[in-house]
């Protein structure tokens, strides 16, 4: 395959179609419109497929719910305020154990905020912004290539575990272009789930629902979800490490800020600071184990986020007091620069009394 120059948003769309996504339901919101538009142009008239611009984000997520129950691969996308509106629907999808891919190209908040990239939806994504004890798998890409790759993976994961998968990108990733290579071709026949509702042909009728007047029934659903979550935790935790081997200080960052941090680390490494990075790619499940293990040797962690401090809690949960955890954040859509991060790293490094490599 050759590379093509594409918007991050469009790359998600193309990857989804190649993963066999048959239905897309969305509603316009900056900075993810190119994705909706890509699906309008490329999925809308595809055989056996459907594109609907819904009347709202709520309608869109409920269309996803309906379509998914019939066994097709389905996706929706939005950005922060729109994702808030989808929370009830996501809770239903999680509860009914239906596969779905949900994209959040997040932007500055709270409120209407701004249309610039931000990472303030980490808690919402990883702790379930909706009601009830559910989780969604959360994947955080850091490049257009990864947007494409993780979109494909998202469809596989959601079908495998029947847990909704959230792709947590941001406006910057969505609205920038980079070369991207698509590693799959669209399937000629879409995958069919055997458990789907398609009318009771050749079998007895089926119900997909959660409501019950017997708490124990609901408890059973909850624990069955819980067991699945445990399985996902042990199978699907993904992360990238960078210059970690001899590091005395580890940066922890995800998505676009990890990418910026990488540039910063390169430049402080040039000055002899032994700094590495771990980038959680799956935000849920979070690489607690890996970080905990690192904290046995490395005693300084520095968390970068484009928010006021959210993932930092997960890092604290991981190290359990066995290492120092510092935080540097820029909320509201301010994009930090590599040199800004580099300065923060240096200050922190020397403040903690760490030494330069000779």
């Amino acid at each position: 395959m050759t590379k093509v120059l594409m918007y991050g948003n469009s790359a998600i769309g193309e990857a989804a179609i190649r993963a066999g996504c048959q239905c897309y339901f969305g509603y316009p919101i900056t900075p993810q419109n190119e994705l909706t538009e890509y699906m309008a142009a490329h999925l809308g008239r595809r055989k056996g497929c459907s594109f609907v611009q819904a009347e709202s984000e709520i309608a869109a997520i409920n269309m996803v719910y309906g379509a998914s129950a019939t066994g097709v691969r389905v996706m929706t996308s939005s950005s922060s305020p729109g994702i808030s509106l989808k929370q009830e629907g996501i809770s239903y999808i999680a509860a009914c154990q239906l596969p779905a891919v949900i994209v959040n190209m997040s932007r500055g908040g709270p409120g209407l905020g701004s249309i610039i990239a931000a990472q303030s939806d980490y808690f919402q994504a990883t702790r379930g912004g909706g009601h009830g004890d559910y989780r969604t798998i959360v994947l955080a890409p850091a490049s257009v290539q990864e947007l494409a790759d993780l979109t494909h993976r998202a469809f596989d994961l959601t079908d495998k575990y029947r847990v909704p998968v959230l792709i947590l990108g941001d406006g910057m990733l969505g609205q920038m272009m980079e070369p991207v290579e698509f590693k799959h071709t669209a399937p000629s026949t879409p995958p069919v789930r055997s458990d789907a509702l398609r009318g009771a042909k050749g079998r007895s009728s089926k119900i997909v629902k959660t409501f019950t007047s017997k708490p124990t029934e609901l408890e059973e659903i909850n624990w069955s979800l819980f067991r699945r979550y445990q399985l996902i935790k042990s199978n699907e935790t993904i992360f990238e490490t960078f210059m970690a081997k001899d590091a005395q200080m580890m940066v922890v960052a995800f998505g676009i800020s990890a990418r910026i941090a990488k540039g910063a680390i390169k430049s402080v490494r040039a000055n002899g600071l032994k700094v590495g990075m771990i980038r959680p790619i799956s935000l849920w499940p979070f690489p607690y184990e890996k970080i905990k293990q690192m904290a046995e040797k490395i005693k300084n962690f520095l968390v970068f986020e484009m928010n006021m401090g959210q993932m930092v809690e997960d890092v604290q949960l991981a190290v359990e007091g066995s290492a120092d955890v510092s935080f540097y954040g820029r909320p509201g859509g301010v994009i930090p620069t590599p040199s800004e991060f580099a300065r923060v790293i240096s200050r922190n490094y020397f403040q903690k009394g760490l030494k330069i490599a000779k």
Partner: protein, 247 residues
């Protein structure tokens, strides 16, 4: 002698949880009879949102997908778009369809989604204990309009069917009732036509059914059945509201 009336096959052998005299169970039975008669049991998906009829899946032996409150039309859209050959119906209360689900309903109709809404108007939020619905009549006392619905602060009963009739994608809209033998028969006929409009791919169809809720109306069953004609149907006139199906 021959059995001339028996429980429809598609009606499961469960005991209805509805109150005595409730309209929901009659409508369930009519749907079941139709699915039997039209021989489509293996090609139907029903969408019941919360409401007294949230347990409709306990009674109707067809595939069913519970929906969030008010989102039936969107859920049905998703089902139908993914699976255009199936007959999809929603079964929605007046709180569900005409309050929280207003936008979803109107836009599904406007897009001409090939789905059928069975819209049970009992002028009240039954399941949650008798609060005011958008269709509650003026002066009617409910738990959230304890002094009677007051037009100046709460508005008049909304006629969502008439509003829906204005959108092109809605091809068949009728208002019926289930409070007498003849009204029950008419309701079944209307439901059959609504299903047929969908099967023929014509567009969105809806049957609004005035149904008694003796419990929340705080009436005897008989009074509640009479009230449907004597009071409710005055505000919500029965009959075909729109029909461009040519059926």
């Amino acid at each position: 002698m021959k059995k001339v009336y028996a429980r429809p096959k598609v009606l499961k052998k469960a005991v209805f949880h509805y109150c005595p005299g409730c309209g929901h169970s009659i409508i369930h039975r009519l749907v079941a009879e139709l699915v039997d008669e039209m021989d489509i049991q293996d090609n139907v998906i029903g969408v019941p949102p919360p409401g007294c009829s949230v347990f409709a899946y306990n009674y109707l032996d067809v595939d069913m997908l519970e929906s969030a409150h008010g989102r039936g039309a969107a859920v049905a859209t998703g089902i139908k778009r993914a699976n255009p050959d199936v007959l999809v119906f929603t079964y929605q209360g007046d709180g569900d369809l005409a309050a929280i689900g207003t936008a979803e309903t109107i836009h599904a109709a406007n897009r001409g989604e090939k789905i059928t809404a069975i819209f049970v108007n009992n002028a009240v939020y039954g399941m949650t204990g008798g609060q005011m619905a958008p269709t509650t009549l003026l002066g009617m006392k409910t738990t959230t309009s304890p002094f009677g619905r007051d037009e100046t602060t709460e508005g008049a009963p909304i006629k969502i069917s008439e509003m829906l009739a204005l959108v092109k994608g809605a091809v068949y809209i009728e208002r019926t009732a289930v409070n007498s033998p003849s009204n029950i028969k008419k309701t079944k006929k209307a439901l059959r036509k609504a299903f047929q409009a969908q099967i023929d791919n014509l567009g969105y169809s809806l049957v609004e059914i005035l149904a008694p809720c003796p419990t929340n109306w705080k009436m005897s069953v008989l009074d509640s059945w009479k009230w449907v004609d004597e009071v409710m149907a005055k505000e919500f006139p029965l009959g075909v509201i729109k029909d461009t199906t040519g059926l």
